[in-house]
Assembly symmetry: C2
Amino acid sequence: MKVSSRGEYALRALIALGLQEGNVSTIADISGQTLVPVAYLEQILLQLKMLGYLKSKRGKNGGYMLAKAPDQIVIGDVIRSLEGPLAPMGCVSITSYEACPLEGTCLLKPFWALIRDSIAQLLDQTTLAHLIERKL
Amino acid sequence: MKVSSRGEYALRALIALGLQEGNVSTIADISGQTLVPVAYLEQILLQLKMLGYLKSKRGKNGGYMLAKAPDQIVIGDVIRSLEGPLAPMGCVSITSYEACPLEGTCLLKPFWALIRDSIAQLLDQTTLAHLIERKL
DNA sequence: GATTATGTTGACTAACATACTCAGGTATCG
DNA sequence: CGATACCTGAGTATGTTAGTCAACATAATC
């Protein structure tokens, strides 16, 4: 049930930028705060930009900043974008359902569904603002 | 947040055996009911046996059966044995904690802890008997 | 006691995912 | 112009997953 380093790193970066309140931060700055290797962080920031969470400015005095208010950034969405579905099994995934030959009789499916709901509820009701303000 | 096929298959096998109430089932039987490839299922059943969940009988008329009552088999334990810790990140794992350099100031850690607790609670309060009796 | 049905063991492999690095290219400011 | 940033795409080392396969050991039955 692990979250990959990529997901963790992305959230670290979003938090670092959220704490900057509008100022741009260079990749090197963010790397320093998050302890994510610069070259790897570049990739992740770029992806977050493509997903619409970040804006960037090139050239001197450039850097990254949030493209949305922290309370508009839902953690569940971020994780889904970076790691795929939250559901533990394809058969109970809402965003990318996969059929299973046991489907009808499977005694596990309702259980996986319970777990999916529990995880999704937590992740979808938490925003970047909640993390930054320590209000969970 | 996926569960591996190995974990799913192990639970399928336990359920299949739990429904047999004491009768032995051959690997081929279990494979037929669970749709897990015979050669792969062999490995998994062997592991479940080493973990103390199953007993086996060799030779003709042999097969596998549960070594414990279904209400003594906790799903969380099974998953942990087959897939490692339930926690999404090492820094909030109880069974295999890993330190993180951000530890003190990390705004994510309390959040991961919340998720860990939610998953662990569900998995640790559910037994094989609950699955078989459809009481979740 | 030979046969046959079963579990046991260990090695092996193809495919994919993870966690990065690196070499260059492009825009912008001063 | 040139320094400082972000941008792009390729490459790579390591590990995990999801299996397969061949040969062996044991127990029941005829």
